[in-house]
Structures are given as structure tokens and as C-alpha cells.
């Protein structure tokens, strides 16, 4: 841990105790599965056992006749949606696809795909009913691996899918949903100028976000068409919008109430159970609760894509990178929409390279539809790019940090997506690693050190907040941002700083969709930046109102009143001889000066700064077993201003832990029938405490001038470097380059059995 530089703020940058801690550690926090609506039915989703099958018929009559069953629904019960891509290119939503992912219609496209759902008086009755549903499948050949799925003779998930992004469009259908291409400069010229050119193929496995809390919801649809959704998500406004769209009901008829969230990491930005529970509730007139099992979470919710990639980079002997090229093929899962565009845009973003070219392919295959996962796409391409850079550094005999420093992106660097970089911060992370006392420390036998960097855009956009000044001078801050990583504490800190009152006087809550303005998801590392801006705006409006109230009491013009250190004060001695009037006193006079003091602010926040991270780790490889032990992990990250440094360190450590899981152990393992063989935490191996060293978080503070307190998103970029850092360390330890994730002991043993490159 490092203490950041002495703060120029009184409250921002301090480490108060988290406001949600007590209910969480005492088991009293309300998660979605804890909700019990009066008269609720048990909802169960019936899932396909096949990876790919045509649904020839579903007979639900026997199940419906079972005593205790209140409704059985299939895809036919959901409204049809037009086949069209709506909205942004990367996140274009095609509700024809979304509705079929929630409930299959013509085909089951992966093992675990929802094909029917039951509402019954108990779990036992629902399970008995499941056995009575007669589904006739025509089992079809499946495609799991992305390279296999791209082959001309691969089984097609959609017989009419023509690749988008190719002119003229192909005449034959394929599993390639989309091709993307980005370029600046002339890569051929750049490679011709290089002294060393390195080209390598890489593969990464699909990995799950691994949140502890399974998806759960309780939904009540009333006879008047209105409804309430209680669920765990990263954005209850999005849950409301998607559920309304899928059921074809007005958004305003639904109220979505956020539960505490037990982890999301991107995977809870989409809906799976809410529309099904809503439809069952609509059919039965009773509330319906659905809670996924862990098996269902693995089989039917989005992991991030596995990928197949080729990266080529050219460097001069002095370390100048002359050209960089990457081809990235990402599994989208059963429906289009992998994060391959992000992979293409982030791949070389930490570097100023004159000549760049990236090509991306979004490929459907018989796996659950991929969902966002912490800096979606960027860690995947970073694994390949940062590995190739390490090879380049070795070939020219240059320290890997020095190579990165030589080419580091800085304000004004042209980015492959068009504009010039507006913010710095990367160089500072490299310097932090370079100057770390352990970086040059000698290593023992079978030990190695690896370095890698990462880039993530971070987010801004739409957020809302309201401020209430309570009668005793305490303050309630309500936002629409689900608190995934400590946002209630950081919102309260920013409000306290703005008002100039102690943190303990400010309480922040997450309000439901009917109680605060629209707020986009907690994702993209956007909340501290965007929602924080809304909170500060709302606080400033409240301060203006408080100044007006003081002016009324003093019989002076509002411009003669200033706000300092939590109190209204005369702007100068000319105004009059008035003692400062603290917030508490003004709050007590709210009624006579105009009523409750309540303000709101909504923003479309822009100018977010991207995140840069550089990490190094030391590993030891057991040459007999191939086991990798991580001895040390140091993670430097530009965090702008650390609003609550403990939470920031937690984000850095959390991202590194997930990266450490991605590197040697996590993967979806499919059998010959296309079924997932490791749908549980026993066989899907996330790292546990005993696998981990102390992860040293180095917070580098380069404030973002576009945020009132300099905040930058801190939640995601930390997962980008670990896989390459570990691969580079393994190569440094044993002289073998691992190019396929996970770098499991058998693969390391196999590499040791072969000669080095």
C-alpha cells in the first residue's frame, strides 16, 4: 500500500469506515434472494441439455395439470421482436436476439439455454413439473471453439447470418457476425523499418466473472399493468428498460428496486431472470421469485469471450516500435456481441506507434452469450500484445519497462480510434514500477519476473443524484448507481467535501427507478466520475439554496453571502456584522425560509480520463509439476484522485486477483457433446487466498481536470496486465513462452518437455 500525496482536500482522500459494512458482515444486508414477497410463487427455468438443437415441439399440458403448478411458459409466450440492430455499433441491441437468449424459440443454442419456465407453489412441485414437460429436440452438430466456428463447413447457429462489416457483403452465411477494422499509418512501411519483427499466435479461454451472488429476482405484476422488480444488478434502470421492452409494456409501469449486489464485474449489466419472472407473474397474478443455482450461472449467464489472436510488432534496436498489427477473433457466444471492438481499440493504446492495424471478428458459437467482464475485451488483446512486447524487449536486450517508457502514449498521441489522447498517467505508472525497490532485486532458481501494462477507456455518461438537507443538518445523498465497489462512501465523501461538513453527517443511498433520475449502469468505471459529478452538482445547488436562505434571514442580497467550511458567511465586512450560520442552523429554519431544502442534478458527464496500469510479478515454477507460485505482485495504476483510497486499493487488488485466476487456472471446459464439464466452483478454479501473495497496490495520482475532485475510473484497467505479466515471468523463469490461457501445470510441463523457441 502506498499513501497518496498529502491531500488538498479535507475529506476526499480519507479512509472512513464503509457505510454498508455492518449489515453485510452481520448477514442483514438485503440481497435479491433475501426478498420474500407475500404470496410469491417459486419460479424455475427449464434449460436445454443440448449444445445445439432445433426445438421441434414443447408440450406443457401435463406439467400445467400438476396440482400446485400455476403457469408454464415458453418462448411463444413472449412478444416477437423485429430483427434489427438498434443503437451503438459495439453495443447494438437486436431484440430478436435478446428475447431468444432469455427464452429460446426455434433453437436451443447452448447447453443451459432457457426453453421453458414454471411457476409453482414450491420448489418440489416445480421440479416435478419440469419432468412432465415434453420437449422434442432435433440435436444438431455444434461449434464451441472460435477457430472451428469460423471454418466454412462449421455448423451454423443461424442459417441466414451474413457477416456485417464486409463490402460487398458475403453471399454465404457463416458464424462470423461482424468484421471490424481500425488503422493508422502504414504497417507495411513500419515493419520494413524495424530491426526485429515478432509475430505470435495466442489463445485465451472463456472465463466467468465469478461473482459470489447468483442472479435472483422477485417480480410482482399487478392486474392494472404496473409492476415491481426487486433484483440484483449493476443497473436497475437498465433492468427496468430491458424487461419493459421484452414484455412490451411501458417503462413507466415498472419500478425497479435495487438489492445489495454480491459482485457483478460486468455480468449483471444484462437481464436473464427478470423478464421470465415478470411473464410468469403476469400469467399467474402472483409475485414470482427466481434464484439461479451456481450451475445455471455458469451455463446460462455470460462469461467473457475466449479468443484466438495473432499479434505482430516491429521494433528498432533503440526500442522504437515501428508497427503493430493484430487479428482478434472473439467468441460472442450464442448471439452476436463479443467485446472484440474494445479488444481492437485497446490493444496498442498504451503506446505511441505511428503504424497500427487491428482486425476483429465477432463469432457466434454454442456457448452462453458473452457478457461484459471488467474492461471487456482489453485484457484479452493485452495478453497477446504485452507478451509480444516482452519478446521484443528480450530480442533487442532492453529492459521491458524501458521499452514501454520509450514508446509510452502521452497527451497528444494519436490513437487508433481517431482522436489524440487527451490525458496522461501511463508514464507515471511505468516510473512507479521502475523505481519500486523490488523491481531490480535478484531472483532465485526457477524464478522469473514479468512486466505488463494495460489501457482502459473508463466511462462517463448519464447519472442523477438528489440531495436532502435534513432538519438536524445531516444530509442524505440519493443516486441511481448500484454500489458495487464502495460508491456510497465515495459519494458521501464528495458531498461532505463540497458542503464542508463531516463525512459522518452525510449518508448516501441507492434509490429505486421511481425515486431518482435515470442513471446508467455501474460499469465501465463510470460511477465515481459521472455520478460523482451529479452529486457535486446537486450539492452546489443545495449550497446556493442555503446561501439564499441565509440572505433571507440577514435581509441581504444572496450575492453578499458565501459558503465556507459548512456555513453561510457574509462575503465581506461591508455586508454586516453577522456570525457564520452553520448548515445545522439553516436546516432548522428551513420551514420559515421556504420549506425543505432538496435539490437534484442530472448530468451527461464527458471528458472522463482513461485508465493506465503497469504491473510486475515474480513467480516460481516447479519444474516437476509445472505449478506456478506467485511470489510477489506489484500493481501501479493511475487513479486520478483517490476519493476513498482503501476502496481504490481494493479495486486494484480485486482486478489483479481476477487476472491471476484467468492466467493459470480458470476456463470453461466442454466435453465432446458440447456440454460444460466444470459448472461449479470446485472444478472451475478461481484463486483463493492461499493462492495469492500480498498484492501491493501503487496508487499514482494524476488528477483528471474534468472532474470536480480529479477522479478517474479505477475499477477495470487493473485486470488487463496480469495474464501477460505472469506469462512473461514464466518465460523469464523457465525460458518457455506460454501463448495459451490458462497456463495450467500440464501446459507448462509440456512446454518444458520441448526445446525453447
Amino acid at each position: 500500500m502506498n499513501d497518496v500525496a498529502p491531500s488538498r482536500y479535507k475529506f476526499v482522500g480519507t479512509r472512513p469506515i464503509r457505510p454498508d459494512g455492518v449489515p453485510k458482515v452481520t448477514g442483514r444486508a438485503m440481497y435479491a434472494a433475501d426478498m420474500a414477497m407475500p404470496g410469491a410463487l417459486y419460479g424455475k427455468i427449464v434449460r436445454s441439455p443440448h449444445a445445439h438443437a432445433r426445438i421441434k415441439s414443447i408440450n406443457t399440458e401435463k406439467a400445467k395439470a400438476l396440482p400446485g403448478v400455476r403457469a408454464v411458459i415458453t418462448g411463444a409466450d413472449f412478444p416477437d421482436h423485429k430483427f434489427e440492430y438498434i443503437g451503438p455499433e459495439r453495443v447494438a441491441v437486436n431484440f430478436w436476439h435478446v428475447s431468444r437468449n432469455v427464452m429460446a424459440k426455434e433453437k436451443a443454442l447452448y447447453e443451459g439455454h432457457a426453453v421453458a419456465a414454471i411457476a409453482a407453489i414450491s420448489k418440489e412441485v416445480a421440479e416435478e413439473a419440469e419432468a412432465l414437460i415434453e420437449i422434442e429436440y432435433e440435436v444438431l452438430p455444434h461449434a464451441i471453439d472460435v477457430d472451428e466456428a469460423m471454418k466454412e463447413d462449421a455448423p451454423l447457429l443461424f442459417e441466414d447470418m451474413i457477416t456485417r462489416g464486409i463490402e460487398p457483403p458475403p453471399t454465404k452465411p457463416s458464424n462470423i457476425s461482424k468484421k471490424l477494422e481500425f488503422a493508422i499509418g502504414d504497417v507495411e512501411k513500419g515493419f520494413a523499418e524495424a530491426d526485429v519483427v515478432v509475430e505470435k499466435d495466442f489463445k485465451t479461454a472463456a472465463v466467468h466473472q465469478g461473482y459470489i451472488e447468483p442472479h435472483a429476482c422477485s417480480v410482482r405484476m399487478d392486474a392494472d399493468g404496473q409492476g415491481e422488480i426487486w433484483s440484483s444488478s449493476q443497473g436497475h434502470f437498465v433492468v427496468r428498460a430491458l424487461t419493459a421492452k421484452l414484455l412490451d409494456i411501458p417503462v413507466g409501469n415498472l419500478r425497479a428496486i435495487p438489492a445489495e449486489i454480491g459482485g457483478g464485474f460486468g455480468g449483471k449489466t444484462v437481464v436473464y431472470v427478470e423478464p421470465v419472472a415478470a411473464m410468469l407473474s403476469k400469467k399467474t397474478g402472483r409475485p414470482v421469485k427466481i434464484t439461479m443455482s451456481r450451475d445455471e450461472v455458469f451455463k446460462a449467464t455470460g462469461p467473457t469471450s475466449g479468443a484466438s489472436m495473432t499479434v505482430k510488432m516491429g521494433v528498432k534496436k533503440d526500442g522504437t516500435i515501428t508497427a503493430a498489427q493484430g487479428v482478434f477473433k472473439f467468441q460472442a457466444g450464442a448471439f452476436p456481441g463479443s467485446p472484440v471492438m474494445n479488444g481492437c481499440l485497446c490493444a496498442f493504446a498504451p503506446y505511441e506507434i505511428e503504424n497500427q492495424h487491428t482486425v476483429g471478428y465477432d463469432v457466434v458459437c454454442n456457448r452462453p452469450k458473452s457478457a461484459a467482464y471488467r474492461a471487456p475485451g482489453s485484457p484479452i488483446s493485452a495478453f497477446a500484445v504485452e507478451s509480444v512486447l516482452d519478446i521484443c524487449a528480450k530480442k533487442i536486450g532492453m529492459d521491458p519497462v524501458e521499452l514501454r517508457l520509450k514508446n509510452a502514449a502521452k497527451p497528444g498521441t494519436p490513437m487508433i480510434y481517431g482522436p489524440k489522447l487527451a490525458h496522461g498517467g501511463y508514464i507515471e505508472t511505468l516510473e512507479a514500477v521502475k523505481n519500486h525497490p523490488e523491481y531490480k532485486k535478484p531472483l532465485g532458481p526457477n524464478q522469473g519476473r514479468g512486466v505488463a501494462s494495460g489501457y482502459w477507456f473508463n466511462g462517463g455518461g448519464e447519472s442523477s443524484a438528489t440531495i436532502q438537507v435534513n432538519a438536524d443538518g445531516t444530509i442524505t445523498v440519493a443516486t441511481g448507481s448500484v454500489d458495487v465497489g464502495g460508491s456510497r462512501a465515495s459519494m458521501a465523501l464528495m458531498a461532505a467535501e463540497t458542503f464542508g461538513v463531516p463525512y459522518e453527517n452525510v449518508r448516501a443511498i441507492v434509490a429505486d427507478t421511481s425515486s431518482v433520475g435515470y442513471t446508467h449502469v455501474t460499469g465501465g468505471s463510470r460511477v465515481t466520475f459521472a455520478t460523482g459529478t451529479a452529486v457535486v452538482d446537486a450539492a452546489k445547488k443545495a449550497i446556493d439554496e442555503l446561501r439564499a436562505r441565509a440572505a433571507m434571514i440577514w435581509d441581504v442580497d444572496v450575492d453578499a453571502v458565501v459558503w465556507e467550511e459548512g456555513a453561510a458567511k457574509p462575503a465581506s465586512s461591508n455586508v454586516g456584522d453577522f456570525k457564520p450560520m452553520p448548515l445545522k442552523e439553516l436546516a432548522g429554519k428551513a420551514a420559515v425560509t421556504g420549506g425543505p431544502i432538496t435539490t437534484a442534478a442530472s448530468v451527461n458527464a464527458g471528458g472522463q480520463a482513461p485508465g493506465f496500469a503497469t504491473q510486475f510479478c515474480d513467480v516460481e515454477v516447479d519444474p516437476e509439476t509445472g505449478k506456478v507460485t506467485i511470489l510477489r505482485f506489484v500493481a501501479a495504476q493511475d487513479v486520478g484522485t483517490a476519493i476513498h483510497p482503501s476502496y481504490v486499493e481494493g479495486q486494484i487488488q480485486g482486478g489483479v486477483v481476477q487476472g491471476i485466476g484467468w492466467a493459470p487456472s480458470e476456463e470453461y471446459i466442454y466435453n465432446q457433446r458440447g456440454q460444460l464439464d466444470n459448472a461449479g466452483f470446485l472444478d472451475y478454479r478461481c484463486p483463493v487466498a492461499s493462492d495469492l501473495p500480498m498484492i501491493e497496490a501503487l496508487m499514482v495520482e494524476v488528477p483528471n481536470p474534468t472532474h470536480p475532485y480529479g477522479a478517474k475510473g479505477v475499477g477495470e484497467v487493473n485486470i488487463c496486465p496480469p495474464m501477460a505479466a505472469i506469462a512473461n515471468a514464466i518465460d523469464n523463469a523457465i525460458g518457455r513462452r506460454l501463448t495459451e490461457l490458462p497456463m495450467s501445470p500440464p501446459k507448462i510441463r509440456a512446454a518444458l518437455d520441448h526445446a525453447a523457441d
Binding site: E181, G713, E716
Partner: protein, 85 residues
Amino acid sequence: MPTAQVNLTSGFSRRYTGGRREFEIEAKSLRDVIKALDKMYPGLGEHLETETTVAIDGQIHDEPGYFQKLRDGSEVFFIPKLEGG
């Protein structure tokens, strides 16, 4: 009136502007840019509003906003919308 240098990605230009990627537009705000492009290519304005992230002098704004101010020589890039986790 200040003039902004406006750029579209190859994907957008292929779909909506017959391949033209670069424009010089007199504009004080992003609203002026969107209005001008929509006049040249009817319907393009809505695509830009809903499908893009915009970078103004390198500063990225997830959602284009009419209120975003431009200076003389501002570089405006409409890029595909981004998504986080």
C-alpha cells in the same frame, strides 16, 4: 463562426456518407455539427446521437450532447460507442 474539423470512422462513412470521412463545419457546439451533418445526409443526425461516443479535442464523451462547446479548430471524432464492465 468557429470551424471544427469533424471525422467519422470508416464504418460510419461507409454506411451513411458514401465514404466521406472528413468535414469542416462551422459550429459553436456539437449541436451545430450534428445539425449540419444531418442537413447534408438526412437521418445521419439521429445515428450520430444514438450510435456514437464523441471525442472533442481528445476528450471522450460517452454520449454526444448538444451542449458540448467547440472552439475554432476543434477536432471532433464520432467513434463507435464503448461499453464497460
